[in-house]
Symmetry: C2
Subunit: 431 residues, 2 copies
């Protein structure tokens, strides 16, 4: 890991330094996923069972988690475990409840009322990855807003282990969120099931949740076929902006907590001096040595950057250009910097707010835009589980006022039937 002084880099080099590594091109991934979709469409549950045997090594009779399995999971966790889950759930509820989309009513012209009304989406499908780390926190992040939205159908899919079991933490998180319909199916086949529907798994209107490259490809194919999806998922990222008064050990700890996610995690430091950056570098080496997932973290650090900016303004410009998923501001006055930040998924202010807080329990959602999507896309929120409809109602007087305007505009667009739909009404009213 090299310390790079931003001022000394050419424009081209700067762009390269902030570029995300291109994901390994796998032209056959799309074809593999398309075949999985076709099989799930054709054979339904039988295909899900076959893929689960093939990819997860589990032979399942029933795909759905039973009440007995939920009860057993609850007994596995201790009292303090349940309390911790409940605290995270409660904070998520508090922050998401405040996001409830507002209905709206505006009189735009006397006699013409426009409204926005809000409805929960009917059927939502949630996906929680399994694998090396059972991410039950993701079950909370998806489960809480769907519980608050009150979507009539709420389904969770997650892959089983070789013995056909779901991690008990995931089941307890699901239960807290009132998710009683949980299916033991993962990967692209889970997304195909949620998009197409099978005898067991209901077809959904929108699919949420992160996953590996096959899951992401499956979500794109689902979206092309008419099922909505949440946001494009990619490798996780953190950028830490730290001034010279920050503690290098805390900065290094935050960088490492991102690096352990996976070898493709992105980790960037923006320091205000070479000296501070070098101290962080030394801390990284020291702390890495004691991490259980150090092999993963080391690979992530190999692709990471330690940048030196000439001050707060330059640091904010770098952050906005990169648009990180997570942005940690360990500086003397983080709120002053925040005012200039325009593109980030979630921002962590000050020395006492590590990213882990937001990953689990502060109340913010950890499903966030990666890969620079923060330039245009927001992290998951309660509104994503609703849709809004606009409504308008004109009184006879309202139509008489606004109708002639509409007639003129429709004529200018050569849309005579649009004009006519107004004119026949105005004729009726003028009789």
């Amino acid at each position: 890991m090299q310390v790079l002084i931003w001022k000394q880099l050419s424009v081209r080099r700067r762009a390269a330094v902030l570029a995300r590594p291109a994901s390994a091109a796998q032209p056959d991934r799309a074809a593999v996923v398309a075949r999985i979709f076709a099989a799930v469409r054709r054979e339904g549950d039988a295909a899900l069972r076959r893929f689960t045997r093939q990819f997860d090594g589990a032979r399942l009779r029933s795909l759905q988690v039973t009440a007995a399995e939920f009860a057993a999971a609850e007994r596995v966790l201790g009292r303090a475990d349940h309390a911790a889950l409940r605290t995270a759930w409660r904070n998520l509820r508090r922050f998401h409840r405040a996001q409830r989309p507002r209905p709206l009513r505006v009189t735009t012209t006397p006699g013409v009322v426009c409204e926005k009304v809000v409805r929960p989406i009917d059927r939502i499908g949630l996906y929680v990855p399994g694998g090396s780390a059972p991410l039950f926190s993701t079950a909370l992040m998806l489960g809480v807003p769907s519980q608050l939205a009150g979507n009539p159908v709420r389904v969770l899919c997650t892959p089983p282990d070789r013995a056909g079991r779901i991690n008990p933490w995931i089941l307890c998180a699901a239960q807290l969120c009132g998710l009683t319909e949980v299916y033991k199916v993962g990967g692209a086949q889970a997304i195909a099931a949620l998009a197409c529907g099978t005898t067991s798994v209901p077809r959904c209107d929108k699919i949420f949740g992160p996953g590996n490259a096959f899951v992401t490809e499956a979500k794109l194919q689902a979206s092309r076929a008419g099922t909505a999806i949440d946001l494009p998922a990619g490798p996780s990222e953190v950028m830490v902006v730290a001034d010279d008064r920050a503690r290098p050990d805390l900065v290094a700890a935050d960088l490492l907590s991102q690096a352990e996610h996976g070898p493709d995690s992105q980790v960037l430091l923006v320091a205000y001096s070479v000296r501070f950056a070098s101290r962080v570098q030394a801390e990284l080496a020291r702390q890495l040595a004691v991490l259980p997932r150090r092999a993963i973290a080391q690979r992530a650090l190999a692709g990471s950057r330690l940048l030196v900016a000439s001050g707060a303004e330059a640091a904010v410009a770098i952050a906005n250009a990169y648009a990180p998923e997570h942005l940690i501001l360990q500086v003397a006055d983080p709120r002053a910097l925040l005012a200039g930040v325009t593109a980030a998924g979630s921002v962590f202010l000050g020395a006492w707010t590590p990213e882990s807080l937001g990953d689990y329990a502060s109340g913010t959602n950890h499903v966030l835009p990666t890969a620079g999507w923060a330039r245009a896309i927001s992290g998951l929120g309660l509104a994503d589980f609703h849709r809004t409809m606009t409504v308008q109602e004109a009184s006879p007087r309202g139509l008489q006022r606004l109708g002639p305007v509409v007639e003129r505009l429709a004529r200018a667009e050569n849309l005579a039937a649009h004009q006519r739909a107004v004119r026949v009404r105005l004729h009726l009213l003028s009789r």
Copy 2:
């Protein structure tokens, strides 16, 4: 056009009746668009000029509309034309201004504050189709919310005619919305320019606006490459629910105003009696005869449906199953029906609210979800021109309260560095 009695249809037949016709499969469309992207990336403005010559028949020196061209356009429109545009613009402003996303601040745990902050997207690209009908109303629908959001870079692309000119109504609509940067480029090449950037056209973070199948394909490819897009566009649709007290002539006029959009427009009537449906059918034939765009409307009507439901409840169920872009409720108590409607783009209440009102000037946005996307996606609104970031800040006391919970959850997910980022801080605080 046949009158179909819903009660008498099998489940399979019902699904077929409400299914959108599959869009003509064009496997080479994706390849054509990919080649256009590659050319624009490689050659920039030169490629834009070449494609504009090839597809629009116009030889352009400068791609950007000049101040003189804006001034000339303004002189073409009459005083009443300008007033009509301004009324539409004003109503759109009134309704969209009320949608301004709220910032948010919640204390979730004593000492832990979570926030949502709102930022306009930096660079947005707007696309307005040209072709047979110059849809300046779309320029207003995209321009007004971007003007209210105050996006720092706002660009509009629209194809020129063979003489290299842009329709004066489009330029006047753009000017009303403060859109001074307008480029004479259309089709997939316009989307490629907005996604990749050229010497003339700035690269944008998000692209908005409808278009033909090539434009839609180009937006999908832009989205795969990292540029956000608004919503998937498809052929326009209307469903009219009408009880026996509605006027068949008004219902027919509304159906025709949709049918004239294009031969693939979707037009559905849900009546409460065969007798009423037949009267609408007769009106359609009568009114069709006098329409200038009757060839188009006739082809759209050929694929349309006249359904007879057994009453209000059944009608609402049909509407929700179809999830129309536009839903017109010409019934005695439209608000009673609205309460049950969960999936539609925009709803028009009562006899005096033709769809044309919302297409131009009521104040609602006419960029709406088609093809059943209304089940999960909302029409365009002010929020789509912003992104939100979440923010959290813990005090030492806040971290001491919430930290142990986060430690326990991180450990359960086998993420030791996440746990450690909290623990090193708690150690510091306990000294």
